[in-house]
Amino acid sequence: MPIEPASRTAQTPPALRLSGVSKTFEDGTTALTGIDLSVAPGELVTLVGPSGCGKTTILRLAAGLLAPSAGELEISADTTSFVFQDPTLLEWRTALRNVELVGELRHVPREERRARALEVLDAVGLADAAARHPRQLSGGMRMRVSIARALVAQPDLALFDEPFGALDEITRLNLQTLLQDLFARGSFGALFITHSVSEAVYLSDRVLVMGRGRIAAEVVVPWEHPRPPEMRYSAEFVAVAGRVSALLEEAS
């Protein structure tokens, strides 16, 4: 199935492309068959689908944590970041030093990485919490630190593995708004996994609907970023979300 990149980035080569990718694990289970997918620079693509449909496998392939069994995987992004389901913060480090970690591992000079980390913490609204340890932060704040850590490396491609799944509804909506805003300001392409249809529609330029290890359908979301939070309650939004839901039901 051919998938067109969103119009605003049509000319540049994709940050990520999977062509005919399949993945069969050592125990014989087939997680994915014939996946064609691309993420253009500056494009946010979401994958929605029921648990166990292979969404996370796609993300782990895109991150290079897994190798495909068949097909081609092209990652042209120089820097890829990953936001996990769990914030995955190092409990013994403050919020600031958690954000600094990636720079530390890449031998970025201390002054530079600290200044950059403070800047990104500020962007996620945590300037005041820089000196706190993860245990002193709420679930939503921890996820903000996790997002800051992913963005501090200035990635070309950011991969999100259902990051807001475990958060309460209000926190979740706030973080969606924040991420949408960061995305509108940033210049990274993103592949975002979720099982929330409204989250997918609100955040992305394209929604890919998955079922049983395949991409079953694609829905283009036409609105420009940044998107006002109240747009989630508009009739057009509900109509698109309804279409995605119907496709999701068909696919699974």
Binding site: A63, G64, L65, T80, S81, F82, F84, Q85, D86, T88, L90, E91, W92, T94, L101, V102, E104, L105, R106, R132, H133, R135, Q136
Partner: protein, 267 residues
């Protein structure tokens, strides 16, 4: 911990202190009863009443050598603990490097733990002599296993799979992974191991005293002397002091554990 009713009326430490004193009084009463009522006067030497035992505390001819011996044992325990910590950490870090190294080294850690020290004493004596170095070796052998197993557990099981992925995605070197992920994640387990090892090193030093009597006498050596001479007051005082010392060492390391691990997580 105190119950809800107690905590509403009295501060926690006071309830704790009262229960400790009450328990001591209870033991003292039973002891006095056994000594004065159950035992006939000619058999009373088996368990002299507490008052008689306590008088040894004021007797410098008994107490001066006893405290000196306890000091020597404490030193042996401390040196043994220090060696056990270093050996245990190195051992655990090596095992954490690969399954292959783990399979080679782990059995020896288990053997050290399971073989009765009694079976090793002849060898230790032949190799290290019958004096203070041999006592240190016993303390090390007894204390090292909890260091190895706790540190190894911390290094391998404390970091989550996702945090390992995070390091993999950042192309971290093996060294960076060890220093920035595994070792810091292992800190709480290492301190748990240290607490256990500290208590065991005291036991090891006393056992060492008992078997290796050349050189200056330790508290374990004195226990043996008192037993042979049937000086029950001194023997009971020495046992009490040893127990007190064990509790002290354990408490110090438990407090250190709480302090360090608490600060580690920013509490």
């Amino acid at each position: 911990m105190t119950g809800p009713t107690a905590s509403r009326t009295l501060p926690g430490w006071l309830t704790q202190a009262i229960s400790v004193v009450a328990a001591l009084l209870g033991i003292g009463l039973v002891w006095t009863f056994v000594s004065l009522v159950v035992l006939s006067p000619e058999r009373r030497f088996l368990l002299p009443p507490p008052t008689q035992v306590l008088t040894t505390l004021g007797n410098p001819t008994i107490m001066t050598p006893m405290l000196a011996a306890l000091g020597r044992t404490a030193l042996v325990a401390l040196v043994g603990l220090a060696i056990a910590v270093v050996v245990g950490l190195v051992w655990a870090v090596l095992m954490a490097q690969s399954r292959w190294v783990e399979r080679i080294l782990y059995p020896y850690a288990v053997i050290l733990q399971t073989i009765p020290i009694l079976a090793l004493t002849p060898l230790i004596g032949i190799w290290f002599g019958y004096g203070i170095p041999a006592r240190v070796v016993v303390a090390v052998i007894i204390a090292v296993f909890p260091m190895i197993s706790n540190a190894f557990f911390g290094l391998t099981s404390a970091p989550t799979a996702a945090s390992h992925d995070l390091f993999t995605l950042s192309r971290a070197s093996r060294w960076q992974r060890l220093v920035k992920l595994q070792a810091p994640a292992a800190v709480p387990s290492v301190f748990t191991g240290l607490r256990t090892a500290a208590g065991l090193s005291v036991i090891g030093a006393i056992v060492g005293d008992f078997f290796f009597q050349q050189g200056a006498v330790g508290i374990g050596g004195l226990l043996r002397v008192y037993t042979l001479r049937l000086t029950m007051e001194a023997l009971l005082t020495a046992v009490g002091l040893t127990a007190l010392f064990g509790v002290l060492v354990f408490s110090v390391f438990a407090a250190l554990d709480r302090f360090v691990v608490g600060r580690w997580y920013g509490r």
